[in-house]
């Protein structure tokens, strides 16, 4: 078993889920309508629960426990894609990011349901069913908001353009890519990205939006190698604030 490769894979997934979960939770109490407030809050709960399960797998591989790992690292120790740490901005960007992220996440877990690393495969078989609801929600609102008014459509297109290169950064390859593929632990980022483009295209078209032209695709990488935007540090500080006040307290 290639433990360093598995750990790296688990860390990037756990960090993506934790950080986007935290961003989703920022809509709690602020959602544009009650149902949407509840939706983002529920998705936040799912994401953070799923990240906790991944951190528990890491703990079984000798890493610190989930809370310590989530709440005591500094921003430059996280390996989430920069895409998930960007601020929520308005509902257009939040919805577009949720759409692009969740399609990738669901496909990743579907691939991992066949992973040769059985503890991850077991978790993935469960999580992929839960993520269906995130994807349904994203598809519905992606189309609905794009077909609202001229203004809403223009805003969704702008949000998609702004999100796109960051979204491509989700597929930044690992230095263990070949080993992971050879050991049948994970089919690899390139395969995932191909499936993802295929999955999102019909909904982009249904929404009447356009993907940026391929010659402008320029992935914002670095997140997987601990390089982050200025937005991650304040998020991490806020997220761990209570835990760090009294790490030994029981909840």
């Amino acid at each position: 078993m290639n433990t360093p490769a598995i750990k790296e894979l688990l860390y990037k997934m756990a960090d993506d889920l934790l950080i986007i979960g935290h961003r989703h939770s920022e809509w709690t109490g602020l959602g544009p309508i009650l149902e949407e407030d509840i939706s983002f809050s529920s998705m936040a709960q799912d994401k953070i629960g799923q990240s906790q399960a991944l951190f528990q797998l890491l703990h079984q591989l000798g890493e610190p426990d989930a809370d310590t790992n989530a709440f005591t690292r500094n921003a430059n120790q996280f390996c989430n894609a920069q895409f998930v740490e960007l601020p929520n901005e308005e509902y257009d960007f939040s919805t577009v990011r949720h759409f692009l992220y969740d399609h990738a996440d669901q496909l990743r877990f579907e691939m991992l349901a066949h992973s040769s690393f059985e503890p991850l495969a077991k978790l993935a078989r469960k999580v992929k069913g839960e993520l269906k609801y995130h994807v349904f929600h994203a598809n519905t609102w992606m189309v609905k908001l794009s077909q609202g008014t001229e203004e809403s459509k223009a805003r969704m297109q702008t949000a998609l353009n702004n999100a796109w290169n960051y979204a491509l950064g989700m597929f930044e390859e690992s230095k263990f890519e070949k080993e992971l593929i050879a050991a049948k632990i994970f089919e690899g980022e390139a395969a995932l990205k191909t499936k993802w483009i295929h999955a999102i295209t019909p909904f982009i078209e249904k929404a009447g939006l356009k993907l940026p032209p391929e010659k402008e695709w320029n992935p914002v990488n670095g997140g997987r190698k601990n390089f982050h935007t200025e937005y991650l540090e304040p998020l991490v500080k806020e997220m761990g604030e209570v835990f760090r006040v009294e790490p030994a307290s029981q909840w």
Partner: protein
């Protein structure tokens, strides 16, 4: 001599903390009862959703129930060895959900489509002239719907694969 059947029966009084008409046994989240010896039993559970915040509380409820029933040594653990899906809810469980005012999840064939979530039968009047308002409700396992026939908002216990 303590039997597995006795333990399952004892567990029937442990209800879902969110749905007081539904037992955890009928919910399908107790996955294994193992009699270690006459005074010792090991229970395994599985969550409905990985992020379900109630699972620790439910473990405790199962533990308390069996201790109160006089079993000396009880261990309760949670794992994903036999993952939960909504088809695991028993027939009695589905009726309990309805009694609580929740539309029970339709049986699925291992695949959930967005269509399956539309036109859920209203638990109050039975009409299928209903609309899905949101796939997310007050807990992770419920969705929000509206019945155009009896003009009632209602919730469904979501189908999950």
């Amino acid at each position: 001599m303590l039997t597995e059947k006795e333990v399952w029966e004892k567990l029937e009084v442990v209800k879902d903390p969110e749905i007081p008409t539904l037992s955890m046994v009928d919910m399908g989240i107790i996955t294994k009862v193992e009699i270690m010896d006459d005074q010792s039993v090991a229970i395994e559970m599985t969550p409905t959703f990985v992020g379900c915040p109630a699972i620790k509380m439910m473990e405790q409820m199962v533990y308390d129930c069996l201790k109160e029933a006089g079993i000396e040594k009880v261990s309760v653990s949670t794992n994903l060895d036999i993952p939960w899906n909504s088809n695991k809810i028993t027939e009695r469980g589905l009726l309990c959900l309805k009694k609580h005012g929740l539309a029970p999840p339709p049986k699925h064939e291992g695949e959930i489509t967005q269509e399956l979530l539309e036109h859920v039968a209203c638990p109050f009047c039975g009409s299928k002239n209903t609309e899905t308002k949101s796939p997310f409700g007050p807990t992770l396992c419920r969705s929000l719907h509206y019945c155009h026939h009896c003009l009632q908002a209602f919730e469904q216990f979501k189908p999950v694969v």
